[in-house]
Every structure is written in C-alpha cells, then in structure tokens.
C-alpha cells in the first residue's frame, strides 16, 4: 500500500500546460469519482489551482496506480500530446512531505503565501464530499492543516509583504491605522497605480479620486475603482481632504514640490500625508519627504522593502523544514503502526467506488 502524489506546478510546467490540465471547480467531484474507478484507488483528492494540479492518492501499489492516474489525467482532459515530462511524482514519506510543504506555502510562487491553505482545504472538502477520502487521506489532510497553522504561528514565514502594493498598504496602516476614513488620490493612470489603489481599497480605504492629463482615462479608471474623476488642474484644490497620494504620471519634471506642499500642509492642519511615487522619472520631489508629517516612498523604496521581506521569509525556510520533518515523522509513524489494519480493510473492499460508508471513512 502506498501514498503518492502525481502533479505539476508553476516550477515544473509553464502556464500553457497548467491551464490544459486544470480541473473546473464545478465538475471536480465528478472527476474525483471517475478517477477512483479509473485508477483503482483506495482514496484520492484533487488539488487544482492556477499554479498547480496535483492528485493525492492511496493505492495498493503506487507502481501500477501512478501510471493509471497519469492516463486518467490525459484522458479526462482529452490531451492530444503527452504532458508526462512536466509531471512529478512523490511516494510515501515524500508525498507526506510534499503536501505539508504545499499547505505551508513553501512550494508556492510567493513564498509563505497563505491563500494556498484555503485552496487545499477546499480541495479536501470536495474530495470528502465526493466520498473519495478515507482513514488515511482524512488524517493526512487534517494533520497538514494543523502543521500549517503551527508553522504560521511559530515562524515568520508569512510575515512582511512581498509585493509593492501590499507594502504600500502596510505603510498606510502604520501611518493611519484603519483606512476607512482615508481618502486616496490617484494622479496619473497606469497598471501599477491601479493595483496599488485596489490594494488600499481592499483594506477598506474610503473615497478614491482619480486625475489624469487625459480626462477620459481618469473617468475610465474612476469608474473601475468606483471613485470620482477630477480634472488635472484641480488636484491642488482637492488636496486638503486627501490622506494618501499615488502618483504615476509620465511628466518629465516633479509635479509635487516642497514649495507647493508646505502651504498645502497648512490647509490640512498638518494631518499626516502619505505620498506614494511610483513614476519614473519621479513625480514628487525627494525633499517633500523631509516636510513634517509627510511620508514619501518611491518605487525603489517599496521594492526594496518587498525584497528584504522576501529575503527574511527565505531565511525562515530552515525553521519551517525542521517543523515539517516533525509533523511528517509523526504521520509516518501512525501510518506504519496501522498499516496492516488499513490494508486488511481495503483488501475486503479493493477499490473505493466513490461512496465510502461513514464507518469506513471515520474508523481508526
């Protein structure tokens, strides 16, 4: 009896391949049931996200079943050419290790990201609903969730934002606390300024004002962000009410200077002001950052912080691996101790037909 995983991820396969083998959420339970039958598996679960497609399974012999799972993958997606070269396979201890790493975000594109844990939970619940999991996978997934929680709380693997937008949000929260009362002004439209504004919005930022040399583009972006477009010449008039400025114009010279800023700070009664300059060449004079209660960050500053946060996460990998080893060992021991009983049980009922009885799934 073997545990194994067959799959591909963002490292092993390009997106063109990943999208072809991805499972639609709507048909996932159906697919899981047909997988059980097709590959004569005792238990199975399919994890399908934009960065990975993985099939976790328990079978009498991985040597036979893994090949069947590969064939199922090709057949189910009606692939005309083979994707075998992109697939990896881990068995027993390596399979346990792999799931733990995935659940903890160690195998993710953004190291330590936490969204993956929710996706793994969802995949498990779908498989469980389809009746495809049993004593082994139930326990394995539960232990993986516990391990992820343990590692998240005792190491710094999830700490510090690693993208420019998220770093900007962190800084905004360090300055203003809750962002609900903050007004954001976007000067100049662009992907980066939109992403940053969205990041602030997703954390509760209040009103959004957009202005651009092109009124048309300003209105388009304002529409997308459910904000208000203002004319380019009017931004100094709106300034007193603004708390956060995201600037990304194509202007060759700074558009915000200390000369302009100092009198404006008086009109806003010296309330704190956060200036985010993501334009190159820069839109905001560097000296504006020296003005009292003004906090200025340009694109290099934000990227620098994101980079150092990534480096800090990488330094935590060893600590995470040490904990993962403990959790893996504990599960492997349990599996070893109960192997005979589990094999006995599955011998009486060779393949899970997809409708495992509750006693069968929850015993042990």
């Amino acid at each position: 009896m073997n545990l194994f995983v067959v799959g591909l991820n963002h490292r092993s396969a390009p997106v063109e391949v990943r999208e072809r083998v991805a499972f639609a959420k709507s048909g996932l339970d159906e697919a899981t049931r047909s997988l059980l039958g097709a590959a004569s598996l005792h238990e199975a679960a399919i994890l399908s996200t934009c960065n990975r497609v993985e099939i976790y399974a328990l079978a009498g012999s991985a040597a036979d079943a893994a090949g069947a799972v590969r064939r199922f993958l090709h057949g189910h997606h009606k692939l005309s050419d083979s994707v075998d070269a992109y697939l990896y396979e881990h068995r027993d201890d390596d399979c346990i290790q792999h799931l733990l790493e995935v659940a903890c975000g160690l195998d993710s594109m953004v190291l330590g990201e936490t969204e993956i844990l929710g996706q793994v939970k969802e995949a498990y619940h779908t498989a469980q609903q389809a009746g495809a999991t049993g004593v082994v996978l139930n326990r394995l997934f539960q232990k993986a969730f516990a391990a992820a929680k343990h590692i998240r709380s005792t190491t710094a693997i999830t700490r510090g934002s690693t993208s420019v937008g998220a770093v900007a949000v962190d800084l905004a929260e360090k300055i203003f606390g809750k962002l609900g009362k903050c007004t954001v002004m976007v000067i100049g439209t662009g992907d980066m300024s939109e992403a940053t504004a969205r990041a602030l919005q997703s954390r509760g930022a209040g009103a959004i004002l957009v202005c651009s040399r092109s009124q048309e583009r300003a209105e388009a972006l304002a529409g997308q962000l459910r904000g208000r477009a203002i004319s380019y010449d009017q931004w100094p008039d709106e300034f007193p009410a603004v708390d956060i400025v995201i600037s990304s114009t194509a202007a060759p010279h700074p558009i915000v200077t200390t000369e302009k800023l100092v009198p404006l700070m008086k009109t806003r009664r010296q309330r704190a002001l956060f200036l985010i300059d993501i334009a190159v060449p820069r839109d905001i004079e560097r000296a504006c950052g020296e003005v009292e209660n003004v906090y200025l960050y340009d694109i290099d500053d934000l990227q620098g912080i994101a980079r150092s946060n990534r480096a800090a996460r990488e330094r935590e990998i060893a600590a995470c691996q040490a904990l993962i080893t403990q959790h893996r060992q504990r599960f492997a021991d349990w599996l070893g101790n109960n192997r005979t009983a589990i094999e006995e049980r599955y011998r009486a009922r060779p393949a899970n037909t997809g409708f495992a009885d509750p006693a069968h799934t929850h015993a042990l």
């Binding site: 709380s153 710094a156 700490r159 510090g160 800084l171 929260e173 360090k174 300055i175 203003f176 606390g177 009664r269 010296q270 309330r271 704190a272 950052g289 009292e292 209660n293 906090y295 960050y297 500053d301 620098g304 912080i305 800090a312």
Partner: protein
Amino acid sequence: MITDRTYLWLAQAFYAVSCLITVRRLRTGGGGPGSQRTNYIVMAIGFVLHTTFLYLRGRHLGRCPLTNLFETQAFAAWAAVLFFLLIGPSYRVSFLGAFTAPLVLLICLAALISPIDVPHTQTLARSAWVEFHAAIAIVAYGAFALAFVTSAMYLLQERQLKTRRLTSSFLLLPSIEQLDVIHFRLLIMGFAMLTVGMVGGMISYRIVGHWPTPKIVWAAAVWVLYGTVVLARGMWSVRGRKVAVMSMASFAFMLIGFWGVNLLRP
C-alpha cells in the same frame, strides 16, 4: 518578614516578567496576540499586588499613602499602570505595555532601593482637601507618564517611517495616527485632573494656612507647560513629532522638579 513593601517587591517581579516577555517578542520578531494577552495578564497581576501595597500602607497610616517620597512614587507608578490597563485593550494598542513596564519598574525600583521610605515626622494636617488634591495630582502624573510612553512610541515609529528603515519591531507598533490620538486624550485627562488638583491644593492650603512656595512654583510651571502642549495640539494644529517632543520634555521637567522639590523639602 512580610511587610507592605513585600507586596510592592512582588509587583516589581511581575513588571520585570512583562519586560522579559517584551525582550523575547523583539527577539523572535513578533509572537502574535497570544503573547500580548499574556503580557496584559502579567501586568494586571502586578497591578493587584501594587494595589495591595497601597491598601496596606494606607490602612496602616489611616490616610492616603502619600506621606513621603517613596509612597508618592509608588502611587504615581500605580496610576501609570492603571491607565495602561484601561487604555491597552480598549484602543487595541499593541506594544504599549512593552514601553510602560520598564518605566514603571524603573520608578518603583528607584523608590524601593533608595532610603526614602522614612515616616513623616511633622504632624500632618488632616484635611480631606489635602489628601484629595495630592491624590488626584498624582493620578494626573500617571496619565502624563503614559503620555510620555506613547510619545516615545510615536517618535520611534515616525523615525522609522521617515528614514524608510523598517525593523521587525516596527510591525509591532501601533499606527502613528492612533498614537497621536491616544496621546492627546491622555494629555487632556492628565491636564484636567492636574487642574482639579491645583484648585484643590489652593483650597487645602487656605485651610492649612501654610504655602510651600517651591512646590507651588513648580506645580504652576508644570501646569503651564502641559497647558501649552494641550493648546498646541488642540487649537494651533501642531501635530506629530513636535507634540511628542513637547510632551516628553514636559514630563522630564516634571520628574526632575518632582524629585527636586520633594528631596530638598526641609
């Protein structure tokens, strides 16, 4: 032998544990909301022991325990912890305890170690006004002590944001706007109580018929200083760093004067 001082020593042990928790949090670069709760509970136990000391001393004296410098210092530190316990959870100010515990520990240990716990020799004027004005003024000092603490946190955070050098302890500090608002509230509370204490003082001195000049000059100076800070923040829209520096300077002046006036007292 167990005396009332024993309880004050025990309270210090808990404040010291709170300091150690902070050091550990800084080392590991965090330690979630759990360790913050632990810290709060440790401080609360310290506070109960601290209160026990004041109660026993007060019962022994048959009056508010403010008869010598030792008792006054212990009382002021107690007021600071009281404000921390009140403000900490309601504003969800993370890390406030980390700055409060060392300050309180310093003030109390200085009081416990130095030979200032001597019974007052002069017969003390028994007047409810005398006790009331002293007690409320000391509670005001507690509020100012916590204003000092929030100002220090503000300046630390502001420096990191300005220089764009963010350390891991940065993540634990509350936002500067939040600190600015809490700081202002503490200032207003402290200033209001100090004003009441001053008025009470004037009434009590009229009753007692004795005017301790240096103390009055000092108290008036503290009142003017803090009044200026409150006005600057509230009316003249001075914000942020300047207010924090003014508040810390006022506290330093108050502390020096406090020891000066009390130690030089005949």
